[in-house]
């Protein structure tokens, strides 16, 4: 019924993976790559699938080379990295809070990053780079505040969720206030940022994100086994030798960093962190936090949504956040219909 793949070496090493999860991950990676190539080919200056591949390999014309490697490739890479970070961050938060709705965009992290960005846009009239720094700072401060406020001899899932909701409500009010303080030009800029968009993202956003992911993703995956055990309750995982508070704190810090960095790069693209882990889970049908599938799902989802935002509504190019927002709404309704009876929410 469930098949697993086990690899053992004579030296006592053994690795194990769920076959279905492996297939899902490979399929998602392929889908993400395909969507990326299509997305690179999409725009005012369309390029065919084959030409995109050729240009990426370094054999394109000068014009194609500029459009692909300087304009569109960094945008797609930012999309992939942001999606992956949000997917992984969401999976971590949902697993820690033991709730499919316990994702960073519900718990106030995105709103906190938004506050940071709004302060820079409205009060300081800062540049795009400064907005990024502001958002990063806002997200980190909010994450720290939620963790400290939820801390009472350890952080428990339910308290984390409720404190996050409280913080989220306050920060949303602050954001509303900052919007009213802005002049109309700044307000427009702020609202576009608040929706989440990949427009105009370049290599300067790619490198920091990539570096962060390169550090955090392995760190998270090393601790994933402890997180798996923690799904059975703190007592059981404690008894199995998991250092529960340490693992939880470490993973929360990682999740906050991932989410804040992703938000700083692309704005608070809503509902990717909420939906990606759930969709991945539906595909793998495996218990556990499903971290790698969630990561791949987030990347695929965001790039696909960006493509849809550019193409699906005729000439109007929408920010990607609008598409993910619609997706989130549909997802919530679907959750309502399917999961309610199971009482899993």
């Amino acid at each position: 019924m469930k098949t697993t793949l086990t690899l053992r070496t004579p030296g006592g090493l053994s690795l194990r993976t769920d076959v279905r999860a492996l297939v899902v991950v490979v399929a998602l990676l392929l889908a993400a790559c395909a969507a990326s190539v299509v997305l690179i080919g999409t725009g005012d200056f369309p390029i065919s699938f084959g030409d995109v591949l050729k240009t990426l390999a370094g054999n394109g014309t000068a014009g194609q080379d500029f459009v692909v490697n300087e304009l569109r490739l960094p945008r797609v890479l930012v999309g992939l990295l942001v999606g992956a970070s949000l997917g992984l961050g969401g999976a971590l938060f949902q697993s820690i809070s033991r709730n499919p709705l316990g994702s960073p965009d519900v718990l106030g992290l995105s709103q906190g990053a938004t506050s940071g960005a709004l302060v820079v846009i409205v009060l300081l009239s800062g540049t795009a780079a400064q907005v990024t720094v502001g958002a990063l700072a806002g997200g980190l401060v909010t994450g720290l505040a939620i963790h400290l406020l939820a801390w009472k001899q350890g952080v428990h899932g339910y308290r984390l969720v409720l404190v996050g909701i409280g913080v989220s409500a306050v920060v949303t009010a602050v954001n509303g206030y900052l919007l009213t303080k802005a002049d109309l030009v700044d307000a427009t800029r702020a609202v576009v940022w608040m929706t989440g968009s990949l427009d105009g993202r370049d290599w300067s956003q790619v490198w920091p994100l990539l570096a962060l992911c390169a550090v955090l993703v392995p760190l998270v995956l090393v601790n994933a086994r402890g997180l798996r055990m923690m799904e059975m309750g703190d007592d059981v995982s404690h008894a199995l030798g998991v250092r529960v508070e340490r693992v939880r704190t470490l993973l929360m810090v990682a999740a906050v960093l991932l989410t804040a960095a992703a938000t700083a790069a692309a704005g608070p693209v809503s509902f990717v962190a909420l939906t990606a882990p759930q969709l991945a889970r539906r595909l793998t049908r495996a218990p556990g936090p499903n971290l790698v599938p969630s990561l791949c799902m987030g990347a695929t989802l965001l790039v696909t949504a960006d493509w849809a935002a550019q193409r699906a509504f005729g000439a109007d190019q929408l920010p990607v956040g609008v598409v993910t927002g619609v997706l989130g709404g549909v997802y919530l309704l679907w959750l309502l219909v399917t999961e309610r009876r199971a009482g899993r929410i």
Binding site: S14, L15, D235, A239, L240, P287, R344
Partner: protein, 288 residues
């Protein structure tokens, strides 16, 4: 164990004799508290090796709290818990988990997990990043499921099982941990009588066949007297009596610990003490 415990009026020959032996698990002068609420002070307990120790007492006497301290779930505000002569908190978490297992009351079966997968998670303390699933793991998991009689359920989902089956699965998970000491916090709660006996019989087998040390918190004094080889009676965070059930379970002790007037007769099946509460009339006269 401390002289000021005031337990000298109760006969505790067993524990007196064991005082000099070094047992693997013991607690010394514990003060246990949640937030500001102190549950127990100056509490000392020895768990005799290879015993089936059962902790009994009225509600809120601190029996589960004691078990949490013994299994390092709760850090004592004073005193220490010793495992193999070392303070349990100072030992590496996985090392403790290879010596001492716990079946807590609050356990959550993750959504959509199969019996086999859940039991396999008990191997966590024996595994590492590069040692994820050895042949040994596979063998132990299979063996644990067979011992607890859930091997044929291996591919079923845990949420589909009955309460009694589910408890067996959790016990199988704890067994897969392969610990010489196993602690169980009220393993029979929420089970009907036949499953209660079923689970306790299983515990007794695990104790007898493999010489494993078992420590359980039980609600039912008669179950405790029947299955325990060593009984610890708590009241108000203090040990009132400890020893073999035949030696310590007396009408006087039951009255002191539970505030219940009763007769003690021999269990017709096992010869262990059986508590028969006094009839209503008799009780009314004693309470006034």
């Amino acid at each position: 164990m401390t002289p000021e415990d005031g337990r000298d009026k109760n006969p505790t020959p067993e524990s007196d004799r064991e005082r000099n032996t070094v047992n693997r698990l013991s607690a010394e002068n514990l003060t246990l508290a949640y937030d500001q609420r102190v549950i127990a002070e100056q509490l000392s307990v020895e768990i005799p090796d290879s015993s089936f120790t059962v902790i009994v007492g009225p509600n809120a006497c601190g029996k589960s709290t004691l078990l949490r301290a013994l299994s390092r779930m709760l850090r004592p505000s004073q005193g220490r818990v010793l495992l193999d002569g070392q303070v349990i908190q100072s030992m590496p978490a996985k090392k403790v988990a290879r010596t001492l297992g716990l079946l807590p009351q609050s356990s959550i079966a993750p959504d959509g997990i199969t019996v086999g997968d859940l039991v396999a998670r008990g191997r966590y303390p024996h595994q590492g990043l590069l040692r994820q699933w050895s042949a040994e793991d596979e063998r132990v998991v299979q063996e644990s499921m067979e011992r607890t009689g859930v091997a044929e359920l291996a591919d079923r989902y845990v949420d589909e099982l009955s309460g009694g089956q589910r408890q067996r699965v959790w016990i199988a998970m704890a067994l897969a941990q392969q610990t010489p000491l196993l602690l169980l916090d009220e393993p029979t709660t929420y089970l009907d009588i036949q499953h209660q006996i079923d689970v306790l019989d299983l515990c007794a087998e695990l104790h007898e066949e493999q010489g494993r040390t078992l420590v359980a918190v039980l609600h039912d004094l008669n179950h405790a007297a029947r299955y325990a080889t060593h009984l610890v009676a708590l009241r108000g965070g203090r040990v009132i009596a400890e020893g073999a059930p035949n030696d310590i379970v007396t009408a006087e002790l039951v009255r002191e610990v539970f505030g219940l007037r009763c007769q003690i007769i021999d269990d017709p099946e096992t010869g262990t003490p059986l508590v028969v509460p006094a009839a209503r009339k008799a009780r009314v006269t004693t309470t006034s």
